[in-house]
């Protein structure tokens, strides 16, 4: 299982300092999340699109990811236009569509996509390890960072374990059907995965203890800010600030 497919690449965004990435992205996301109306979300979406273009991300994979997010957005399109109070635009039988509702859901759609695109373009272009590393530098609680890092590190191990167990079932002629045998076998599969991952975590922890682990990961490699980072930082901050100024106007 490959989870860092966007991290491969050599664009400008791939080479930036992850600390700068976190700080600028946070500001941008926060502001995008709170702005109202249509103009500013559109502005944010434009910024995100430019970021994606700069990162030169594979379009197909990007569309796949966006599709997942927009399934949830689609649900909003089904409910909000009909339930939001406002001026009636037209009616479908007993249901009326309000103009405000339509604009509101359009705004949410643009904001959501802007945030997702920016996150993929900025954070997706760094490896998880350097992101975790940056979080430690930014004084995030270390326990949370470890949790995040190990979760990522072992999700693919777990997936491999799952593939192996599925193989064991396949070679013994297992064909899923709607019967107790199938349900029981799948339950065993899930149960065994849980037991195994727990045991594995114990073994890893013991191995770490043997190597002197005391709850902290020492940092050897340190980040260094370069001219590119500073320019990117200034650019992102000024874009975000200009958005904030437009809100106040």
């Amino acid at each position: 299982m490959h989870l860092e497919e966007f991290a491969e690449g050599a664009s400008l965004l791939h080479r930036l300092d992850p600390r700068v990435k976190f700080i600028t992205l946070m500001a941008f996301i926060l502001l995008t999340a709170v702005v109202k109306g249509l103009g500013l979300p559109l502005y944010a979406l434009a910024v995100s699109t430019v970021l994606v273009a700069v990162a030169r991300l594979p379009l197909r994979k990007l569309v796949n990811r966006l599709a997942v997010v927009n399934i949830f957005v689609l649900l909003l399109w089904i409910f909000i236009p009909f339930s939001y109070p406002g001026k009636e635009l037209f009616s479908l039988g007993p249901l009326t569509v309000s103009q405000e509702g339509l604009l509101y859901v359009l705004s949410i759609t643009m904001k959501t996509n802007a945030i997702v695109l920016a996150t993929i373009a900025i954070l997706g272009t760094s490896e998880i390890f350097s992101l975790a590393h940056a979080l430690v530098h930014l004084r995030m609680p270390e326990k949370l960072v470890h949790l995040f890092f190990f979760f990522y590190r072992y999700i693919s191990v777990l997936h491999e374990e799952y593939i192996k167990l599925k193989r064991a079932m396949t070679v013994r002629c297992f064909t899923p059907g709607t019967n107790m045998h199938t349900y029981r076998s799948f339950a065993y599969l899930v149960g065994m995965l849980l037991v195994r991952s727990y045991e594995r975590s114990q073994r890893i922890y013991q191995a770490m203890l043997c190597r002197g682990f005391d709850g902290r990961f020492p940092l050897i490699r340190h980040f260094a800010l370069t001219g590119k980072d500073i320019i990117f930082c200034i650019l992102m901050v000024s874009l975000t600030v200009s958005m904030a100024m437009l809100v106040l106007l």
Partner: protein
Amino acid sequence: MIKVKNLNFIYPNGKAVFKGIDFSLKKGEKVGLVGPNGSGKTTLFHLIMGLLTPSMGEIRIFGKPRNKESDFKEVRRRIGLLFQDSDDQLFCPTVEEDIAFGPLNLGKSAEEVRDIVSETCELLGLKGLEKQVTYRLSGGEKRLVALATVFAMRPECYLLDEPTTGLDEETTERIIKFLTEHADTYVIISHDHELIERVCDKVYRLNGGRLERVDKISLDKK
């Protein structure tokens, strides 16, 4: 039984394992397969069982070409694969249930399955372990139980991936006894030359992507 022609497999990272290998196994043959780590021995087994799809070549088993997933259903019913790592093989909570899993998939009735389980346990000396939790067994016990789960399906041919690696002498002897008494066609992957000497008639070496027949005697002369 098994006939493989000009077979090749390419890993997702683009590395080819074989340079086109030919291999055949007839009924009653007892074959040893040796070769360095990473030479593709396990991959060959997984290709024969249809767990991997070859990127080139032909696989004929029981006289029919096997290409699609559905072709391999019959293969898996008649050929038993013992995985290199017993933990990959066992996933049910108890020994008994794990041994019953295969026969149940073959559509056997509850009664038949009960008989198979007790007969299999008897044969491999697993009596008394039936209700044990599989993941708490010792390495040797796990190996025997894994073998039992394969044997429970009464395959016509066995593919055994390092059946005795890491086992003590007594457990190894039990596996050898089982092979000589109850299996007549098999391929064994092993680094244990003594084992191959004792239970195989024919030896192949897989090295550098090629498969070649070797003398049993030359195994020790390395």
